[in-house]
Symmetry: C2
Subunit: 283 residues, 2 copies
């Protein structure tokens, strides 16, 4: 029976710290505030936004919304980004993507200041996570994985780590973050030969391949820590991850559930970044 | 007996291509030009500069030198960087580092435009190599390793690759570049446990640990391709790499020599980047 690494435990601990941080900032006259920039009315975005606002409320972080119609011209979105950049009362921006196709994603990302890029989408944030310097913020999902490991006292130092997936939102940044923490990281992807055996090498395994329940029993061995980043809706409407939980759980030492794992922590990290950004402005 | 992957063969081939590229650019009215920015009179810098100028001459690339005294104030160097940025006749800048201690390296790096950053030192170039987008240029040593593999027809796709070293000038960028070419890359460092066995896993091994002749027989096995990035002066004045060549060579399939390997190709790549930068301005 594996230890189940529940996101809620991590969130509860983070929320306590965040509440104290917000109180301390307010005592110094700084009210940490999240800017939410949404173009259009996609269900996914609205659902995530709802969760983010709820979390902001629960820890005392303010929210300022910038809502644009789905057919808003690119310049209008650029104007909003500049407004966020110049507004000292807004400490970080959450910009929903993908953007509508008539808008150049690169131009928008380039316009956002890295210090307000709490979701790790700018080139500055990418350089920061690659170079391990304080520039921008890492993508929230990657940071959520790190928060789970830290909360449960799992230190990557000196351990073999296998990361499955090389996307810019999770695979590559989490590989760098685990390497910065002295893990010996192997990055796998669709062109990796004999993937199951490479995954079995890992003492810590991050599965972010984007394929539902693809990692089956043969991927795992005793003693492993498994972080499942995937989240998929099955035909019956239930949720599953990239790992076939029922097969992996009896084998490994510890595993995150889906739902209730990484996803649960991600929103929380977004808000934590707003607080960190506010701390920097408070000097 | 291993195949010796000689830098000179790679350079000879690159030089032929570069000459043709320069001719084509000049026919379009663009004279590719390297800006060399040097603060002070360090022997290492002067020696590298001499090699770079010679290589520029041999392929028809122009050189513009910006020489500052070792005690030049930071603003003077910033002015030079801005001059390079704004000079349409200078396509790339080679800035010798480390800079004197009274100058803030980050401020100087931030001032240089990524499109003129032929040595991959700006945050833009780092983001480019991490995200695999055309922003700036990868560090030249990393690109030299890739050029050697390409020249000798060694495709990283689907292969296990071990990179020893995680520096920003070579370990991390080469790991990303090999991953972008579909290698399954493991990054090792000083905290890696049982380093020899992890190196033996690699079908391609990049040794960039910075420790003279540290990789001995136990690191290697039959069939491996070994790229030795290190270059060190031994007590008797001779040069050696990070790999104990005499022990590795009889075991592996192919290996770069030191001297005459990666280092030989690096200057060439720097000049190649100038030509690439000039091509971009030529549209």
């Amino acid at each position: 029976m594996a230890q189940i690494l529940k996101g809620k435990e991590v969130v509860d601990a983070l929320v306590e710290t965040m509440k104290k941080d917000v109180e301390a900032l307010k005592a110094r006259g700084v009210a940490p505030t999240l800017g939410i920039v949404r173009v259009g009315e996609r269900d996914d975005d609205i659902s995530y936004e709802k969760g983010a606002k709820k979390r902001c409320d629960s820890v005392g972080v303010g929210v300022k919304q910038y809502l644009l119609p789905a057919d808003a011209p690119q310049q209008q979105l650029l104007d909003v980004i500049h407004e966020v950049n110049n507004d000292k009362g807004v400490h970080g921006a959450l910009l929903f993507r993908p953007l509508p196709k008539h808008i150049d994603d690169n131009a928008i990302r380039a316009a956002l200041l890295p210090e307000k890029d709490i979701d790790g989408i700018t080139d500055g944030s990418l350089a920061g996570v690659f170079a391990n310097i304080k520039l921008g913020f890492p993508p929230c999902t990657a940071e959520a994985c790190m928060a789970i490991l830290a909360h449960f006292g799992i230190d990557p130092a000196g351990k073999r780590v296998t990361v499955v997936g090389r996307s810019l939102v999770i695979g590559r940044p989490i590989a760098m973050m685990l390497m910065h923490k002295n893990g010996t990281v192997t990055i796998c992807h669709t062109k990796t030969k004999d993937l199951p055996s490479v995954v079995r090498e890992g003492e810590i395994v991050i599965v972010a391949a984007g394929a539902p329940e693809n990692a089956t029993a043969e991927y795992f061995r005793e003693g492993q820590i498994v972080i499942d980043v995937g989240i998929h809706v099955k035909e019956d409407g239930s949720l599953c991850g990239d790992v076939k939980f029922a097969e992996a759980e009896p084998i490994v030492k510890a595993i995150t559930p889906v739902p209730g794992g990484v996803g649960t922590v991600t929103t929380c990290v977004t808000i934590q970044h707003v607080i960190e950004a506010a701390k920097k402005t408070a000097g």
